[in-house]
Symmetry: C2
Subunit: 200 residues, 2 copies
DNA sequence: GTATAATTTGACTTTATGGTCGAATAAATT
DNA sequence: AATTTATTCGACCATAAAGTCAAATTATAC
């Protein structure tokens, strides 16, 4: 059928993209659990039932995988920032929404990974640091806004933000998806503890 | 003089120990800044004006250095736990004292390093995880105590602790000794934010 | 069923770096 | 000054893991 002729090359791309995503997702999980440097390409390959060489059909290098992990995460975080636009009656309420989204991202499947930036070089690192800065500034802005509207206690916004963003990032180290503590409980508790820690 | 005969061999040991400490301190700083795997032994050696081989006169392996970094830190933290015994009118007050000590440890010179546990193997990792567990339990106990005496809001103590301990551990990633924000300011702000986040 | 393009592989090269060793140097001891 | 002991080094080895490539396999198209 003619649809095949049109669909088939399209499917190819889709399947390639899907497999590529699978590679990165699988690697991301391994990186989170064992750390970037303790995860070899052979291991990533094997856990997908592939040979190492096949991996390089989908990615340029190990570094690229790490880079994409970060980008995926920052894309998701940017999305969270965007979806919070116009919501929340004041700075604190907006921040609670955003922080909750962040926590959900970090706990939903093993996607989360914001570590090992030092292992990225050149352009890769520059881009990732830029993305990180962008998120940081967005959060800072909300916090500063909250300090002005009186919903957040006045303090050095940088330290304030580092505190609860640090708690979030550290999740990667100890949180086990599907472990004893559910992602929802963590999200709820973190939002609660964060907000009471800074509300005025 | 006779004192020399007695002092000299003693000095030797002291100097050896001092140099060994210098090696570990220097390495710890590099590890914290660039990450364990991005710091080569040659680099550590060069930054001390030594050759790589000379390093191995003081340490058994790179892994041993990382191990000692952790132990030094946990010794200091144990000390902090110990020095808080009997102090503080209630759980929250005691926790504030302890948390402040921890924050001081993390910000005072580049000593802090509690990451890369995955790069330790066998006995090394077992011991470090045991030490970490010990600290965690001590903190948990204080928090639970505070929840009972009414000074700390009732919640899942594990998550409560992970939150503010995570914030602390993440310091390593972004804090620059001698940078724009002083250790004292951070310590003060962290204790404040931690305690208001959990006080009832 | 043959040709073409997409995947996958085994076997290889390369590289970074941890670690070793015997010899050289410096310091203390007699 | 000679001897022993502590310290340091240059040059080397070992190895793990990243990355490459020509060839084989599998899927798709005609």
């Amino acid at each position: 059928m003619t649809t095949d002729k049109i669909d088939q090359p399209f499917n190819r791309e889709i399947q390639y993209a899907a497999k590529r995503r699978a590679v990165i997702r699988s690697a991301a999980g391994a990186f989170r659990r064992r750390g970037y440097h303790n995860t070899s390409m052979v291991l990533i390959a094997k856990s997908l039932g592939l040979s190492k060489a096949a991996l390089y059909y989908y990615v340029k290098s190990k570094e690229e995988i790490l880079y994409e992990c970060h980008i995926i995460m920052y894309d998701a975080m940017d999305g969270a920032v965007h979806s919070v636009r116009g919501k929340g009656d004041n700075g604190l309420e907006k921040l609670k929404l955003l922080y909750g989204s962040f926590a959900k991202l970090m706990t939903r499947d093993g996607l989360a990974l914001l570590a090992d930036v030092d292992s990225l070089k050149g352009e890769y690192q520059t881009t990732v640091l830029a993305r990180r800065g962008k998120i940081e500034r967005a959060v800072n802005r909300i916090v500063e806004h909250g300090m002005k509207d009186g919903s957040i206690k006045k303090a050095d916004p940088r330290i304030t933000v580092f505190f609860f963003m640090g708690a979030l990032n550290w999740l990667n180290v100890w949180y086990e998806p599907g472990g004893r503590i559910s992602g929802e409980k963590i999200t709820q508790a973190f939002v609660e503890q964060m907000s009471t820690g800074i509300s005025s």
